[in-house]
C-alpha cells in the first residue's frame, strides 16, 4: 500500500483509496470498488451511459478499520456471539458495531483524499456541493446473492463533503446489519472475507426512473424485456413503496407488448430542506399519468439488450432518465445485477405450435386450463 498522497489528484491511479469509474481498469474494478461500482465501470467501458463518480475502495475500508482499531473491537463483539446466537443477540451486536462506525472519524489522510475526489466530482458536474448517491458496494461471491439485495445502505442526494463522509461511514457500518451478520454466521463467512467498498456517484436529476429485466422476472420468459417505472427517483420502486407502471417489450423487435399504467401513490423526490431524496405523496396530477413514451421505452430496452449481450446472461438494471435527457440520448444506468431466474420447462414459451404438446400441457394435465 502506498501511503504517499498524490500530486495529480485527477488521475486517481496513484492512490488505492479512490478509483474513478471512468479511469479504473475494468478488469480490477470489482476487486477495488466492489461489485456495484465495478459493474458500472465495466458498463462504461462497454459503451453504456453511466453517471460520473468514484469508489471509496475496499482497501480504504480495510485501512480505516485497521488503523482506527475497529478491527479488534469488531472481532471482539463477534467473538462474543459464538456460533449460534439468538436473534436479539445478533441485533445487539449489530447496533454496537454500527455505533462504533458512526463514532469513529475517518482518518486525516483518507478525509483529504475523499475531499479531493468530491471536489473533482463537483468540478466535473459543474456544481458546488453536488448532490451524490452514496451506495454500498459489497465484495465477494455472496455479494451477488439475492439474499443481499438491498441489505446494505444507500443514501441519495447527499450534498457537501461532511455529509458524504458520514454517509460513507454509515455504508461501511451497514456491512454489519443484523441480517448481514446472521447471514455470514449461518454460512460461516468471516466479514474480513467480504470487505465493502462505497460508491460516490453524481445524483442524476431524475424525471423518471425504474428497474428493467432482460427476461421476465417471474416466468423467466427470455423473449421479452420487462420495465417498471415511476416518476422521480427509483427508491420507491426498489423498496416496493409504489405500484409502478409495468411495460413489456419484445426483445426481438423492440415492440411495446403492453403498457399498464398504475396508480402511483408515492414518489421519491429531492427534499431540499433535508438535502436528501425522500418518499412523499405523489402529486395527484402525476399519479395516473403514463410515465414513459415509446422513445424512452426504446432507449431503456436498447440499454438492457446491450448489457445482457455484454455479460452474456440475463440482467436486471436500475436506470434513470435525467431531466436533461433529450430524445435520442441514452438513458443512464445506475446499477446492474445478474438475474438468476430461468424459465422452467413448464413455463417456457413453446418454440412452435405443437398441438399434441399443448393438449398434454393444458388439457390432460389434471389442472384447470388457464383462463377458465
Amino acid at each position: 500500500m502506498d501511503p504517499a498522497p498524490t500530486t495529480t489528484p485527477t488521475t486517481g491511479h496513484s492512490c488505492d483509496a479512490v478509483v474513478w469509474i471512468d479511469e479504473v481498469d475494468p478488469q480490477r474494478a470489482i476487486a477495488a470498488g466492489g461489485s456495484k461500482m465495478g459493474r458500472l465501470a465495466e458498463l462504461l467501458a462497454s459503451g453504456v451511459e453511466v453517471p460520473q463518480g468514484f469508489a471509496v475502495t475496499v482497501d480504504a475500508y480495510a485501512r480505516h478499520c485497521r488503523e482506527s482499531g475497529l478491527d479488534e473491537r469488531i472481532d471482539a463483539v463477534i467473538g462474543r456471539l459464538g456460533s449460534s446466537p439468538s436473534e436479539a443477540e445478533v441485533e445487539a451486536a449489530s447496533a454496537e458495531i454500527r455505533a462504533m462506525f458512526t463514532a469513529t472519524p475517518v482518518g486525516e489522510h483518507l478525509t483529504a483524499r475523499l475531499t479531493e475526489a468530491y471536489e473533482e466530482l463537483c468540478l466535473r458536474a459543474v456544481d458546488v456541493n453536488v448532490p451524490v448517491a452514496v451506495r454500498s458496494s459489497a465484495t465477494g461471491e455472496d455479494a451477488a446473492d439475492a439474499s443481499f439485495a438491498g441489505i446494505f445502505d444507500t443514501y441519495l442526494g447527499v450534498s457537501g463533503i461532511e455529509r458524504v463522509l458520514d454517509a460513507v461511514r454509515n455504508c461501511w457500518g451497514s456491512l454489519f446489519t443484523a441480517r448481514a451478520l446472521a447471514y455470514r454466521l449461518r454460512k460461516g463467512i468471516s466479514h474480513h472475507a467480504m470487505p465493502i467498498a462505497v460508491g460516490v456517484i453524481e445524483l442524476i436529476h431524475a424525471r423518471a426512473s425504474g428497474v428493467a429485466f432482460s427476461v421476465h422476472p417471474v416466468t423467466g420468459k427470455a423473449d421479452r424485456i420487462v420495465v417498471e417505472t415511476s416518476w422521480g427517483w427509483g427508491e420507491a420502486i426498489v423498496q416496493g413503496l409504489v405500484d409502478p407502471d409495468h411495460v413489456e417489450i419484445g426483445k426481438a423487435d423492440g415492440r411495446v407488448l403492453k403498457y399498464d399504467v398504475a396508480h402511483k401513490r408515492v414518489v421519491s423526490a429531492f427534499d431540499f430542506a433535508v438535502g436528501a431524496v425522500t418518499e412523499i405523496d405523489m402529486p395527484a396530477k402525476l399519479a395516473d399519468r403514463k410515465v414513459l413514451d415509446d422513445e424512452q421505452v426504446g432507449a431503456i430496452a436498447s440499454a438492457v439488450r446491450a448489457i445482457e449481450e455484454h455479460y452474456g446472461h440475463p440482467v436486471d438494471v436500475e436506470w434513470v432518465i435525467s431531466r436533461h435527457r433529450r430524445a435520442g440520448d441514452p438513458v443512464c444506468i445506475v446499477q446492474t445485477r445478474p438475474v438468476t431466474v430461468t424459465a422452467s420447462p413448464e413455463e417456457a414459451a413453446p418454440a412452435a405450435y405443437d398441438p399434441v404438446a399443448l393438449a398434454q400441457k393444458y388439457l390432460f394435465s389434471g389442472k384447470p386450463i388457464p383462463g377458465r
Binding site: L257, G366, I369, R372
Partner: protein, 592 residues
Amino acid sequence: MANVVPVDEFATGEWYPGFKPEHFESPYIVDAASPFKPGDEQGFWFLDFHWSRGLTPLAATLWSSDGYCWGTQHAAEALPLPPGRGITARFAGTHLYGCALPETDPREIGARANRIGTNLPHFLANYRSIWEAGRDELEATWQYFRGVDFTGTPDLTELLTQGRRYHKRSMEIHFGVMYPMLANFLGFYGACADMGINPAEIGKFLQGEDTKIMETDRELYRLALKARQVGLEPVFEENEPLALREALGRHGGAASVWLTEFDDFLQVYGWRAEATCDVGVPSWIEDNTIPLGLVKTFLKRDDAHDFEAAARNALAERDEAIDNARSGLTREEQAVFDAGLASNQAANFPWWQDDHNYYIDLKVMLPLRWGCQELARRENADNKDDMLYLFWPELQDVASGRRPYAGELKSLVAERRQYFDHWFAKRGEMPKVLGTIPEAVEDPVLIEIFGLNPSAIKAVQNPDAAKQTVMSGVAAAKGTARGIARVLQSSDELHRLEPGSILVCESTSPNWTPAFGKIAGAVCDGGGMLSHAAIVGREYGVPTVTAVGVATLSISDGDEIEVDGTTGTVTILTKATTTADTAAETPAGVAG
C-alpha cells in the same frame, strides 16, 4: 377432501315400469349405461342439459348407449385421450347424468399419449377430408331413408335396425371428429391464455363463419319479412302457434302462397328435431308449431334483425380481436399464435360445433322415429309416439311380430308415460351434480360443452344457491342487458320469450337459435366459451353469460335481472312478486 353427493336416492333399482337390466344390453367400450347403481358415488356425475325434458325409454337407451357409451368411448380409444376413456351415463328417473371415465394406469396413459402424438397431427393434417367423408357418408344414408316408403315396407324390423345403425354410426363420426378438434382448440386456448391473451377474446378468433344453422335462421327470418310484406302480420298476431297453420290455410290467397314457400323451406331445413339427439321429439316438418311460432315472434320485432350486418360485425370483431392479441405478443409468440390460429381456422371447432348439428344431432334419430310411428299406426296404438315408451328389445319384438303390443306392453306404455311426466315435473329439483366432485375435469367435452370449469363446479355445490342474487360465469358474449327473466326448462317453452326477455335455461342447442333474434340477454347453467349459447350470443350481439352452474335455481321466472356478458356477472335486481306462471308446462314433444 372431495365433496361427495350421495346417489342412493336414485340408486333404488326401480326404474321405468317393466324395466329389466337386459334392456340396456348394447355394445359399449368401457362402461355401459344404466340407472344409478350403488357405488356410483365414486364417479363425478353431472346433469346433462341436452335432455332437460327427461328421456323416454327408447330415447334414454339409444342416446346413452350409442352416443356416450359407444360414440364417446370409441372416440376416446381411437384418438386416444391419454387420461380419459370417454363418457358413460346413468339415469336418475328419466334424467340423464354423464360421467367421464378416467384412465389411471400411468403406463397406459403414457402409451396413449404416444398414440395421440401420432394421431392428432394426422387428423389435423387431414381434417377436411375426414370430416367431409363422414358427413357425406351420413348424408348418403339420410338420403336412403328419405327414399324409403315406411308405410309400404311389410317388415319394419330391418328398417329399425338400419335406423339404429345410422344413429350409432353417426355418433362414431361425431365424437371421432369432436375429440381431436377440441383437443386442438383447447390446447390453443391454453397457449393463448398463457401468453397473456384475455380469455374472453379467444372465443372471437374463430367466429363469424357461416353455418347451416345460421343459414336456417336467415331463411326463416326472410319468410317472416315476406309474411309482413304480403300483409299476413294480423294472422300471426291473432293466432297462437298451435293454430297458425290452420288459420293461414283458412286465410287463403297470399297466405296459401306463403304456406307453399314455407313448406319448400321445410323440405330443406325442416328435417330437424326440436332437441339434440332425442328420438322422442318431432321434427319441424312433423310439427310446424315451432317454426311458425318463431315467425310470429320475429314479426313482433319492429326493428329488423340485420343478419348480414351481424355477420359483418362478427367478422370485424374477429379480425380486431386477432390484431389486438397479436400486438401484445413477442415475435416468438406470434409465430406460435399464427400457426395455432391457422390450424384452428382450418379445423374450426366453433364453426363445426354449430354446423354439424344440421347433419347429425338434429336429424339422425328421425328415421327411427318414423319407424316407431309407422309401427304405432299398425299396432293401433293410442298415440303415434307410444313406441318411444318401449325399450329397444321390446320394439324389435313388436316389429317382428314376436310379441304383441296390445295387452301387457300397451299398459306398460301408459304407466311409463306417467313415470315420464312425474320426472318431467321434478327436473327443476334435480341435483346438478352427484357423486365425488373434483376440482377440475380433463375430458374436453366436459370442459368445453358442459362448461365444467373449476368455478362452475364450485357454484353447483353452493347450498344457498337459491338465495344468491349475484352469480358469475363465463363472459361468453359481451355487453350488458336488463330485462325480465324467462326461466325455460326446454325449447318447448320458447314461445314464452318476448322481445327484450332475458333467457335463463340449463343450456341451449341449435333449435334455440331463433330465440336469439328477439331476446335481450341469455344466462345458462352450463356451456363454455364455445357452447351454442356463447357462439350464437356473439353472432347475434346478445349479452350472454354461460357456465353459471345454478342460474335456473337462483333466478325465478319474472325476476328483473341484469346480464353483464363482458364481466360474466348476472345480478338479480328485483325478485318476481308472484311465483305464478312458473309451473312446468306439458312437454309438447311427447304429447300424442
